[in-house]
Amino acid sequence: MNIKPTDLLPVSLYGMDGRTHKTMTFFLQGPCKGTAKIVDENDALVDIIDADAIDAKVILDHCLARKPLRPIIILSLETLKIENTIYVNKPAKTDEMLAAFKEAKNWLNGKKKKPAKPRKSKKVVQVDVEPEQEKVTPKKKSRKDNKKDDFELSTETKVYSNPLELKKTEKHKAAMLIDEQNFSSFIGIVPGIDFNDRKQWVKASYNPRQYYQGYVQSAIKVAYEKGQVIKLNSGWKPLTILPHSHELWLDADDKQLRAFAGVVVNSVQSGGAQTMSISAVNPKNESFSTELDKFQEINAFIWKLACWTSKGRYPSALNLSEPVYLKRWPNFTRLVITPHAMRISALLMTGPRTILDIIKVLQVKPQYVFVFVSAAYAAGILEQSKRQVDKVIATKEPEKKSKQKKSLFSRILRKLRG
């Protein structure tokens, strides 16, 4: 058989789903233009196999058995040396693909390359992202760049999944968005504080240790430190904390929890009596399996408990005039989203700010900022800055976007919120 250099090489594809097949078509018609065309199996002179497909071995055996002399191009993330095949490393680059087609043509024209000796396939070295790499901003890769890409997609094998997890519906519930109108009815009101009077903000604090929140946080801390399943016995409903799976189990709905959240359980008046205790439990002796919907994710639970305990106040451990910083974005899709919570997060991610500053910059009611910092502080993702430099260096105002951009983003927001 003599294939002219100008002839389109008829190839057939294997091990690719519909969308990948179409993209491969585009690739051959585009950057590899004039080299190959995709045809049916019977009309092809070259087979191209995605060796990372689950049934790749079966496909390869089939191709070798059906047409032993037909060149086979193997696409794979792993470096493979299989007899009578031409290997192309994924991600497939144009010049490597063209070189493979050229070799296949030579093979068909009788200039067959000596088959490579079969070697053990070796895994691609997994390159971890370098810790000192500050920005993920690579130079634009040119198509002529033959350097092997250090960053690659992982293989697609699915890991074992826990079918029970699907039944823990409460854990995977979508976020609850609370708007300004419903804030007071949802969060509750603290009598005796006028939030419109700035001078009263100083007394708008609360101590979590006097509430159920404090005991829950302590119990969670113990559970993680000891690596043990812990039960918090409060005289109300027992709460079981499972640190290894970052979840807890509570036989109470949100209405009941909200009501109990606001009760002072450890006050001076009661003589500081602590009515709660913790004990280690064996989860096998508990009846979790029959009530999987009572599992909740620990951070989400603490977040809403803090919102209901706070009622628009801030934790007494925080100083309104000292900067606070956010370690990371809260996982908002699984949390109660109080008014302006995402704006506050976005602002704090630009740098440390005092709580008073946040209120001023965003021009929002103090209760919204107070409840946010209460929840974020309880979840352990907000801290008061201890560094002197955070107090001395004023945080830059967020870069002002053009009016046009600002308006566009606002309209997108409106659309998203329906």
Binding site: D17, T20, K22, T23, M24, F26, F27, Q29, G30, P91, A92, Q126, V129, Q133, K135, V136, T137, P138, K140, F151, E152, L153, S154, E156, T157, K158, V159, S161, N162, E165, H172, A174, A175, L177, S245, H246, R328, W329, N331, F332, T333, R334, R343, S345, A346, L347, M349, L362, K401, K405, L408, F409, S410, R411, I412, L413, R414, K415, L416, R417
Partner: protein, 179 residues
């Protein structure tokens, strides 16, 4: 009219198509089908495979939602797609063998675009595979000195996808408010 886009990317099976379907005001259009119509007038080279949806804003403006092709390794298409984009949504499948490797791959591949705009990361399939946790993702991003929204997302839930895109908007400009 301006061509504003939000790009959805991520490995195969992460939920890009589903997420765009959740947000789009029109049924999802596969541009290869559109091209099929166009091939009556044009050549067949226009065949592509990507997801496309539209969000219609109140003033008639359209936000185009593009999902990168399932075969993410053909990066030559990404430059074309990101042109005019206002931000990136990266969806990661938590049930894949190494989601961190996937994350590094896409953050690097779209590095220039992310620098100019922003990115929000949605982790799907967390009801099937609880590890790594969202905290693990943040810890990994810390080694890259990146702080972006990372949320657990069910791509079928419009609310989840909406919150993720809202976070992207706020990360681009914390000062915005709903108009």
């Amino acid at each position: 009219m301006s061509q504003y886009k939000i790009i959805f990317t991520g490995p195969v099976g992460a939920g890009k198509t589903t997420a765009i379907t959740s947000l789009s005001d029109v049924p999802l259009v596969k541009t290869d089908e559109v091209a099929s119509d166009m091939t009556k007038q044009r050549k067949a080279e226009t065949t592509v495979a990507m997801d496309y949806g539209i969000m219609n804003l109140s003033d008639g403006e359209k936000i185009h939602l593009y999902g990168t092709p399932g075969q993410e390794r053909f990066d030559f298409m990404w430059d074309i797609l990101t042109n005019g984009g206002i931000g990136l949504v990266l969806l990661l499948d938590n049930s894949r063998t190494d989601p961190f490797k996937d994350m590094a791959f896409f953050l690097k591949s779209f590095g220039d675009f992310i620098q100019e705009t922003g990115v929000a990361i949605g982790v799907t399939q967390m009801d099937l595979s609880t590890r790594p946790t969202i905290d693990d993702y943040h810890q990994h991003l810390q080694t890259l000195n990146i702080k972006v929204p990372v949320f657990s997302v069910d791509a079928r839930e419009k609310k989840d996808v909406s919150v993720l895109v809202q976070a992207l908007m706020f990360s681009l400009d914390p000062g915005i408010e709903e108009e």
